[in-house]
Subunit: 336 residues, 2 copies
Amino acid sequence: MNVHDLPTPALVVDAEAFEHNLAAMAAVRPGTALRPHVKAFKSTALAGELAAAGHPSFCGATARELVGMARAGLGADLLLANELLDLNRLAALAELATLGARVTVAVDSDETVAAAAQAGIGEVLIDVEVGLPRGGCPPADAARLAEQARRAGLAVRGVMGYEGHLMMEPDETKAEKVAASMRLLTEAHAEVGGDVISGGGTGTYAVNTWVTELQAGSYTLMDTQYGLLDTPFRQALSVLATVLTASPKGWLVADAGLKAMSLDHGDPTVVGGDVWFCSDEHTTFAPSAGTPAPRIGDRVRIHPSHVDPTVALHPVLHVVRGDEVIERWPVDLRGW
Amino acid sequence: MNVHDLPTPALVVDAEAFEHNLAAMAAVRPGTALRPHVKAFKSTALAGELAAAGHPSFCGATARELVGMARAGLGADLLLANELLDLNRLAALAELATLGARVTVAVDSDETVAAAAQAGIGEVLIDVEVGLPRGGCPPADAARLAEQARRAGLAVRGVMGYEGHLMMEPDETKAEKVAASMRLLTEAHAEVGGDVISGGGTGTYAVNTWVTELQAGSYTLMDTQYGLLDTPFRQALSVLATVLTASPKGWLVADAGLKAMSLDHGDPTVVGGDVWFCSDEHTTFAPSAGTPAPRIGDRVRIHPSHVDPTVALHPVLHVVRGDEVIERWPVDLRGW
C-alpha cells in the first residue's frame, strides 16, 4: 500500500530514520547497557525490533505494558519502572513467571515493598529520588528500604533513579548536573548493593555514564521537543493528515487534532506550515513563507511535540520505506 | 462495586451531577433544539441517556462516531459536523441508511460537495465560517455552494456555523459577539434555504438564540475550563487516582498523568491539592493549604481541564451514585 492511501489521521514511522536511531543508540549503549522504555511506543512489534538489535531487557510504566511484553515472548528481563500498589496487577506481574518472564518492580516506600511482597513479586529495585519531584525514596532512606525488602523476602537487584528534570537541560550544564544527580544514586547503590543502577533517558544518554542500564525509549521515534537537543537521533514519527479546508483568508485545516497528537509539550509542527492552533480533530495552519500552499485533499506530515502520549492515541504505527507501507505495528500496550 | 475498589486511573461520572446537567440544558434547549455533540463523550450508552431525555438528534466529529451511533440504534438524525473527503468513510456513512439512520454531512467547498455526492450521501449542511479560523466556506460563497450541492443531487438541509472562538468570551461581550457571528450565519441561511441553522456549544448555550439546534456536548460531563464560566452545569467527570508516593519534601504522586488526562487546556485540578506537573503516568501535587495530606494508597479525585480528549483516553466511564458504581458506559466511539 502507498502511504497516501492510508485513511487519516495515521501514525507513520520512517523505517530509515528508525533504523538509524537504533544503530546510533546501540553504538553508545549496546545490549543490556540499554533497557528500552516501552512507554514511548507501546508496541510489542517495535520492541521486537529492539530485541533483534540486541537489547533483550525492557522497562515499562504500567502493568499492562509488562503483561503484553511477556505474552509476546519479550519477557527476558522486564522492569516496572514505577511504583504500583494494586495487588491484582502486582499478582498478574508475579504470574508472568509462568511464561518464563523475569519481572522486577520499583519500590520507594514501606507500602510499596509490602504490596510487592504480598503479591508474590520476586525482585525489586529501590527507586531513589535524584532531583525530579516524583517517585523515589530519599537517598538516605534507600539502605533501610533495601533491608526491609530483603526481610520481606524480596531480592534487591539494585537501584533506580530518574533524572527526568535534566532531560532538556542545556548542554553547557547538563553533564555537571547529571553527575550531581547520579552521585546521589551511586551513593545509594553503594549501600543497597546489587548489580543494577538503572536510570537516564534519551535526553541524557550521552552524559549519563553512571547507570549500568539506560532507560530510553523516545529516541526510537523522536519528537520535536527532543529534536531541540543536539543528538544524532532523527525524527522518525509523523502524523499523516489530509487538508480538508483551504480558506481564502490564508489558513488551511488538516484532519489531525489534539485527539491524534498530545499537546502537553506544545503544539505539533506541520512540515511546510506554521501551526495556528489545534482543535479536537483539526490543526489550523498557514503555509510557511516560500512554501507552495497545499490544496484541499493534499496530504501533510505533522511532527508531534511529545512522542509517548501521541503514540498512545493511535491503534497502529504504519512503517514506511519511501512511500511504501511495509509493515503495521499494532500499538498493543495501551491502557493500564 | 465501591468506587474505591476500581483500578486506577479510572474515569468516574457522578450520576447526580450528570442528571442535573441534562435537566438544566433541556430546560433551555428541549428536544431537537439541542443536537448533542457525541465528540465530547464518545459513548453510545451516554448518548442513550440523552435520547431518553428527549434529544433524538446527534452530531459527531468523526465517521466512526456516526457509524457507532447508527449501529447502537441512535441514528434518527445524525450530523457529521466536520468536513470529510475520505470516500470509503463517506460511503460507510451513506450505507447507514440501510440501518434506518438519517445522515447529514457538512460541506464547505467544491471538493467536499463532490466527495459527498460521489459517495452516495443524501443530505448536507453548508458549513459557513463565522469567525473561527477552521472549516466553513466564506459566508458570501454559501449560496453558490448550496446551488452546486443541489445540482450534484444533494439535499441541502440548511447551514452550520460554529462560533468556537467565543466559547470563553467574557459575559460582558459574549452576547454581542455571538450576535455578530450568528448574523453571518443567518444571512447565509436566508440565501441557502432549508430548515436547519446548526451551531453553538456549551459556552454559548445561553446567548445563542439564532440556531435552530445547539451543538453542545461538554455540558454533560464538564471540565475545569468550562467550569470557569457562569453556567448551571456541574463538574460530573473526574479521574480517580491512587497516591503512590508521599515525599518527606512535601509533594505527593498520584497514578494518573497525561496519558489519562489531556493537558491541551492546561493542567488538571486535584481536589484538595495544588498540581505541580503531570508526567506520562503521574501527577505531582501538594496538599492545599489547610487540607490534610493524603497518604500512600489514598484515592484522590482529579478534574480534567478538557473533557473531550480526556474521555477519549479511556475505555470506560464508571457511573457512580455516592460511592457505588451503578453503571459502566463503554467509551465505544474512539478512533476515526
